[in-house]
Amino acid sequence: MSRYLAHVVARTGGAPPPAGLRGLPLRWLDGGDLGIWATEWSAEPTLTREDAFAHHDLVGVLCDGAPCLPVRFGTWLADERAARRSIEAAHERFAAALDRVGDRQEVAVTLLWRDALSPEGRGHAVASSGTAFLERRRAAHAATDERRREAEALAARLGSLLAADQADVRHETCPSDEVALSMSLLARRGEAEALKARAATMVAGLSGVRGVVSGPWPPYSFSEELGATGGR
């Protein structure tokens, strides 16, 4: 019995690439005016790291050919009926999102603290007394709050300088001890490389953080809110 690994939601039509993952057939799962490109497997396999990046390559090819919404890697459908029901459940949102982001690309900006907080700064140090414990916790909270304020200021600065429309920016500050900011910027095709270059120049001038600018990629971060479970 076949299983289908979903790659993108797209509008009906368009020429498919010759094959799916691992050279397997790429199928169009028809859901009316929208559908899903998916790799057909004879049984659900154990996916690998290579499959994840092959999915990314395939999504890129599909998005180059027509407006697409990338599907989260590892999403399986049993058959065309399941695909149709999935599309019906969010048809209006998918159609609107295809219009808004389907032909755009995403540039990723990640800022890493050059000096990660010490265990003391994170409140993980062993205290010798109750008072010392409370003082260290207070200091740790203050340090964390300060970091968050710094990260928010960086996000506001980058967002205002790099994106004309704040709706085209997604970001999260301090998602972990080492990361100050994870930001995604949406750009029109043809403008994404220029945006990436501007972002790289900007982050190179920031102090206290190391910036990495990546992409352009399919609009992963701007598609996630469309699913049943919502997004950030």
Binding site: A6, V9, I36, E44, P45, T46, L47, T48, R49, D51, A52, F53, H55, H56, L69, P70, V71, R72, F73, G74, T75, W76, L77, A78, R81, A82, R85, S86, E88, A89, A90, F94, E106, A108, T110, L112, W113, R114, A116, E172, P175, S176, E178, V179, S182, R210, V212, S214, W217, Y220, S221, S223, E224, L226, G227, A228, T229, G231, R232
Partner: protein, 65 residues
Amino acid sequence: MTEPLAALPDEELTVLDLADRLLNRGVVLAGEATISVAGVDLIYLGLNVILTAVETIAQHERRTR
């Protein structure tokens, strides 16, 4: 002690950033779709977990070098 992320080369950080997007972002299909990446050694944690997954990957890569 593990190497800080800020010490990794740009190319490696880009791969980690991309892996985070592949595993934690993108359209979530409703209805009868299921998400299964149990065999992927990049560790999928949850729909709202970002970059913690990246750091997990980084730790994995350091161990396997």
